[in-house]
Symmetry: D2
């Protein structure tokens, strides 16, 4: 990581993602050659076949630098798509979509959130798929579809049965991005940057977009259940990534404290405020990591559904820890922290979304509390 | 605990400790009969002989109610004195002091902090012991000597060699409280209560107080080292107690949220603010417990000295968690939380000291940070 | 204040309020002689006749020590009762109740909160008064009736018309405490202390308690309106008291920082953490005072009703500032802060209620937000 | 503002500053025509001649949108340079530099911070100016020189007398940017954006850069004093800008709360967490504004030097308020808040520097505390 991947940070400064692709391909090739490619992918698809918790530990290391997950082909949203294709896909779907995805030959996206409806309410959506002949005809509007720019296909959450109970209304359908009626409207500029290719979040429309019924993933009405299967364990990996980011930031903070002088001979690290930040960050990161490991262990023991509270707990707890640690590290660097001469400014901008995506903190807190209060005999 | 110990809370309301002693003796007797007496004490002295981490787990349960530790004879400062007598005492000292302590026949105290010097600086003290004949002659001034009222003996930290390097100046000497020259000046009123007997913090003076040299504990100049041996692992137990207090408070908060209405048919627990508190508290307590277990495991693995950073981390982290959880639970109860109709008001008052004793948060944070920065090659 | 009132703090340590009364009477006499008696009371009733904001400024000074408000006869709940008697009372009521109250010859209480209903919901109560002959017959249950112990009369909030719209159901009735059927059940132990006399919070029952109809205060169904008239401006005075407490705590913190050494020659005040606390406290107290002054000015300009948002804002903002400042000051004192050797431990315990009484923070926040959102065209 | 300036936000999205200049010139022209040009500039130089506090009130309004200050020609660092040129400049300097600056014909920059030295220590710098013939010869290295790209001249802080007492070492010298030896090395990419023209922060080197001695501003050794004269009152304007940003964010938060639904018919604004944010933000912004007005009034009354504590207090207090308000507003918008479809994402990125520039929070806190402790008789 230190030799091959961290240096990409400064190389990439001021460059669009597209310009970086050849350089990233080079590094990906080194990863392949080192036998470390796609750690989370089953061996039959060319990965290392690491178990769920093993891969979580890997995520912490890869996430310490913005391109880490990508060069190991473990990046969102592809990794999640690989998981659900592997678990719910037909053999034909796997051959067509999973195999090249695992090989890093194509990319994909996952189209769920809609601008008109709160993303915090996962059963409220308007995009529909209606059967017609052997096809589904899809109409609707999505946004914050990450990495749609350059993706070969989207997995789209669509309502197939509006009259079913809320959690049975939606299905997931694979939509090749060259299908007529599928349109990437724009890359949504986020935090000052429109992004490009994998590094982007798009607005998408479906207008009478027809895909064959065999593109249905895992059964009609299973959309929500598959999303849960995808998101629950995926949150462990998100959280481990955030811990990686926290550790990297912590390390930069300590390096700065140990080298910067505030006056001749007076180390920044001798300031008690900086010492407080170091100590508090150390405690918070360690506690966060243990909590994530524990939640992962719970998923292993009792399954993602039963471990829902554990997963919601880490979602907001770790996002909060990362926010504070990155903020302290940035402040420790002064103006340098604002600049892109270190990676901290990127972590600050990019990490802000952690408290929002996959369910904002506030939603997870309510989920946790209501579940706990159920144990006290009430529906709150 | 629920049947025999929690009910003591309301029985004790408005009573001085002395009045409660017969009732507490009764419960202690039941503990003995149940074969649960003195869980942390070696079996040869009548205890259960639990290992270090086993006892830590027990502490969480016992600490959920103010008299829990006491009725199991696992209360501070006696438990710490038992440990050091067992580890550093001579056979004669053990027979005379340790055995009756373990049996619950006598109580003891530990006199270290001095009013004139910051307790946060453990090597700065003025109380001296000078050899004279076969005796030590002790002169000095201590305070916040917990449970001195009614104690049979004090273990006193005294300077025996003022010219030694800072960590080698002090020794620990056993001083029977009926020794001439030993005087308990007062019980210091704390949080509105002077306290009594075990439930007190005293100011003490030594004026030409003579004790035989065989009362020296563990060698001259070993005072600081023994204190460290006592405090390091002791902090694990403090932290587990605080987690017990947090859990009890959490439970009371949830009970209240699940039963109190803010308007007819509207549960307090349906308020999002209360839900936030429940969720945040759950995450913080779980994280704190894992961090304490981890620190305990570290002590087991590498020893108290090497695990110093781990221990300092939990000291301030868990004290902070407890403060917040107790505060939220109290607030959830409204005026009832202020009253002594629940135990929360006690936890609020009593728990405030956790951020101060055994080293204030601020000192532990600096310890942690300086140790970490040493790893970056600097003395900060 | 410094010469006559602050010294009462240490004199009172460990004493019940009753024991202190002669000493307090002495000081009250000095206040009368100095021509400073009852600053907020109209001159015709023997006070200084200060205007609303003038008295607010006085409150800050008096509240810097626990007995300050009392020795000037400006203490809650009497001051509030004086206000409503003066504004809404008949001449007969004023002669009988207001005059001796202003003279400091009797004390009073205000019975509103009920244990069965959330105090945060002021229109939800069960105590009723039914007309019978020339009397009201009162039945019900109150608690946290402050200073009921020793009071000559209570002003009781009771439902006189259960079928009226919520804000018109209740009335306020003056109940002499020697009326048959009025019973002070107990002083509720709060923060470890049952209290006594003025320094107490009682549980009260009314059982067929008959008082003449001329004891009605300000008209039937006006109970809620009078309570609002009492509480709104009263909150300004509460807030100014809290600022007084904050200032006193701040001063003690600075004194400690300027005199305590953490090692020979090393001032506590040279620690950056302490400096942070001093600076943050200074900013917060100054900001809080300005905000309270502003809210008072708003009440003067537009009336208490229109200034409701302003008053709710300061209620939670200033309570929060006081909590933090007292906490920092206490921590700065270490173990001494826990003790009753300074007044900080009292402020810590007593001040905790500020976030609860007169409407918990959480309720005021919702009031503010809903009012603001009304300006955006919605009922939230 | 609403009609002409706010709309520039969305027009500018994705554009470099240079592309926007014609459009901004258009708006500047409208400002001139409306008779609102350069509110803070003396009338003799074409401005409105507003007083110090009058302009502070204006700043709040202009800062509600990123281009507000610029289109009124009140933007940093030009406004500060106009002030010091007006106060300390010679007539010749004023004619040559101040007049076109006030007219908006040229721009300028202020080169103070050096990469090798902590910006928090304003008397520690290495750039020197040595007299030679009628010139100063400047050598050194600066960075975070805002708006240097496109500036006609820099005001450079340089050491003219290294042997003087610390506050007398530096002078300010006007350096036209076309002077040989002056080199803009790069625009420092900050928060992901290299910026351009006015919207940039540059790294600068001086290599034997010769400027005539008549370019000295306000006397040799006066550099620090002039910087103080510039920064002290300038901080009032910074703080008022931050309040403007807070108000705009608050308004967006309320608009979102009042219109977004989390489920059909359920307003986001009915969530108690959102209500808490609205209420807390309202209180904090109001308190912050009053504190800034108070500090401004103090400067008017006692001068910038005596009001130093007041100015330091607002510097960190208001920066903190803005950070929290912007963060809450962003979170209220969910994914939309991350995007550049609202201005919040810009405020989040750009506002982060407020806790750093013109002295980081931590430095101002120490300044405040040491000054206060001086009142307690100690140098801490």
């Amino acid at each position: 990581m230190g030799r091959e991947v961290y240096p990409l940070e400064q190389e990439a400064r001021g460059k669009k993602f597209g310009e970086m692709i050849p350089r990233l391909e080079e590094t990906r090739q080194k990863v392949r050659e080192a036998g470390l490619w796609a750690p989370q992918v089953p061996t039959e698809y060319g990965g290392l076949g690491l178990g769920f918790m093993e891969h979580a530990l890997v995520c912490e290391q890869l996430a310490k630098t913005p391109y880490g997950m990508y060069v190991f082909n473990a990046q969102a949203p592809d990794a999640g798509n690989m998981e659900i294709l592997n678990e719910f896909g037909t053999e034909a779907q796997k051959e067509r979509w999973l195999r090249p995805l695992c090989a890093g030959e194509i990319r994909s996206c996952f189209a769920m959130t809609e601008p008109e409806h709160a993303g915090s309410n996962p059963v409220w959506m308007s995009t529909t798929a209606v059967k017609d002949g052997g096809n589904y005809v899809i109409n609707g509007h999505k946004w914050f579809t990450s990495a749609a720019d350059g993706a070969a296909f989207a997995v789209a959450m669509v309502v197939t049965d509006p009259d079913a109970p809320p959690h049975g209304r939606a299905s997931q359908i694979i939509v090749p991005t060259d299908t007529p009626g599928y349109r990437r409207v724009r890359n949504i500029s986020c935090m000052g940057d429109e992004g490009e290719d994998w590094d982007s979040h798009s607005e998408i429309t479906f207008e009478d977009c027809r895909v064959p019924q065999e593109n249905l993933l895992g059964g009609e009405g299973k959309g929500f259940a598959i999303a849960q299967a995808r998101l629950g364990p995926g949150r462990i990996h998100h959280c481990m990534r955030w811990i990686g980011i926290s550790e990297r930031s912590f390390d930069l903070m300590c390096q700065r404290a140990a080298t910067r002088e505030t006056a001749p001979g007076e180390l920044l690290g001798s300031k008690q405020t900086i010492q407080n930040w170091i100590a508090e960050s150390r405690a918070e990161i360690d506690a966060a990591r243990l909590l994530v490991h524990h939640a992962g262990w719970r998923i292993d023991q009792v399954g993602a559904k039963e471990a829902r509270v554990d997963v919601s707990l880490i979602k907001f707890f770790v996002a909060g820890v990362m926010s504070r640690v990155v903020d302290r590290a940035l402040q420790t660097h002064g103006a340098l922290g604002i600049s892109d001469d270190t990676v901290l400014s990127f972590f600050y901008r990019d990490g802000r979304a952690a408290r929002i995506y996959d369910g904002p903190d506030e939603v997870h807190k309510s989920v946790v509390a209501r579940r706990i209060l159920k144990g006290y005999g009430v529906e709150a």
